[in-house]
């Protein structure tokens, strides 16, 4: 079983990102579970969301405490939240950022990646620079790094779980996939 934790801010789409990733893995024939951290969701407040991916039905119903991977949708969160908490040694962290991975000092036990998902989202008309919708771009980059889901399945996942701007979202995921 692979367990992934997402960090975002209320309104940024971290929960949606966890659902898109789960839907993509489901399209790839996996069993999945995706859910928000059950906090009070307020716009701008730090939120968490989780995705579990397995070959058999997922039975465990608690939150994820020891993730295999962490996705950070908003780089400003790194100063506010302990994003590496519980992350397994050798686990990966993907940050939505225009900076290089080595700019982030998160210890040397993890593999750090960055992707400018905000730029990709804006280029594809997904939200504005101030409020970009980065979830599909970040998922595209994440599946490239981890190889857990095929890009085609991500596209199918977007088709099934994103109500609007399907094509733009698919393009954003593909662009992120190809640029990392």
């Amino acid at each position: 079983m692979i367990e992934i934790r997402m960090h975002g801010r209320g309104g940024q789409g971290a929960v949606k990102a966890s659902f898109v990733l789960a839907e993509a893995a489901f399209q790839g024939g996996k069993y999945v579970q995706a859910f928000p951290r059950f906090g009070v969701e307020r716009r701008g407040a730090p939120v968490e969301a989780f995705t579990r991916i397995d070959d058999k039905p997922v039975q465990i119903r608690s939150q994820i405490y020891y993730p295999d991977a962490v996705i950070v949708l908003d780089q400003t969160l790194i100063e506010v939240v302990d994003v590496t908490k519980g992350l397994k040694k050798g686990g990966c962290i993907l940050i939505n950022s225009d900076k290089k991975p080595k700019k982030y000092d998160l210890g040397n036990e993890y593999n750090i990646y960055t992707i400018d998902a905000t730029k990709i989202a804006v280029e594809n008309n997904l939200g504005s620079r101030a409020a970009p919708i980065v979830n599909t771009a970040i998922v595209g980059a994440f599946v490239k790094i981890t190889g857990i889901v095929k890009l085609d399945d991500v596209k199918k996942g977007i088709e099934n779980s994103i109500p609007r701007n399907k094509e733009e979202n698919k393009k954003a995921a593909t662009q992120a996939f190809n640029s990392i």
Binding site: F26, Y31, F35, R61, S62, S161
Partner: protein, 382 residues
Amino acid sequence: MKKTMIGNHAASWGAQLSRVQVIAAYPITPQTLIVEKLSEIVADGELDAKFIKVESEHSAMSACIGASATGARAYTATSAQGLALMHEMLHWAALARLPIVMTNVNRAMAPGWSIWADQNDSLSQRDTGMMHIFASSSQDILDSTIISYKVSEQVLLPTLISFDAFFLSHTMEVVDMPPITDVDKFLPPYNPEYKLDVNNPRSFGALTSEEHYYEFRYKMQNAMDDAVGLIKKEGREFEKLTGRYYDLVHSYKCEDADLIFVTSGTIAETTNVAVDELRKDGKKVGNLKIRVIRPYPKQDILKAVKNCSKIAVIDRNISCGYHGIFAQELKGALYNESDIPVWGYLAGIGGRDVKVDDIKEIADETFKSKKPVDMIMKGVKI
């Protein structure tokens, strides 16, 4: 067909597949998404039902009662304070013998506004005369809705299907949706013998003196007794269509267990994972999930636990002034029948997360303990 959906939508689709004819509901977190989805389903023409917007949960159940009395298949959903407001009408529905099926998302009672999982809301409806199911997966929610109409409409008792807020209501997972043609074969249209019918007028719910009231309770009790067998029978019928069987209790590795956990809801699922891990460490444990609490599956429980030497009940609820409700019920069932000692644990109150490690701790504690304890409040910060 397999699909991904959140638990709330599994409830909506369960109602759609059951071809409910009247839906009356009032939105409340974390139930809102059930009703939103249903209104969409009705608006899209995927279900031919009357969707009644009401001004309160009391009215929602009242509308369902009216609809059901005319012979329509009625559905509602609520949570916590909403269910409490419905309380009077739950007794009404049960005593009027109306087979309404409803969903309750288990949420903590307020104040101390926690919108998270806690069973006190629905357990407070224990004595209304409704059948009461605790579903533990989205699949269970969807399937239970369909099976419950079939059982309810035979024994003429309403069913309350409860499931944990957020851990199920807002969690997306894979659900296998049976084709509606299969469901149609399983669940025929509802056509009761007694109903509001202008061509065959009668009065309902009239004054009943002490000369007859007792007898209505007697009939209700018999109906509950019949429901035990019917839930199993219809469960088997449903299995023929879908391959999935639902019983009143589900036991996991109980046969040779020294210690059996008694659990419900999502905690039961996490406990199965803990059982596997504890077994790897050589500890003989099992898990008995109570899926139906009314009718109370006493014989099934006695059979499942008969070989064990200790029982640990995990309650996500409390009857303040006594202790966990599942623990009380279990001890009531064992008394006169068996002398297996019972340890009562509270966990997950107000939606606090219950982890595999917490359950392992409960196992260790119970194995070590010599004397049974009514209630151990796990994890409470003093």
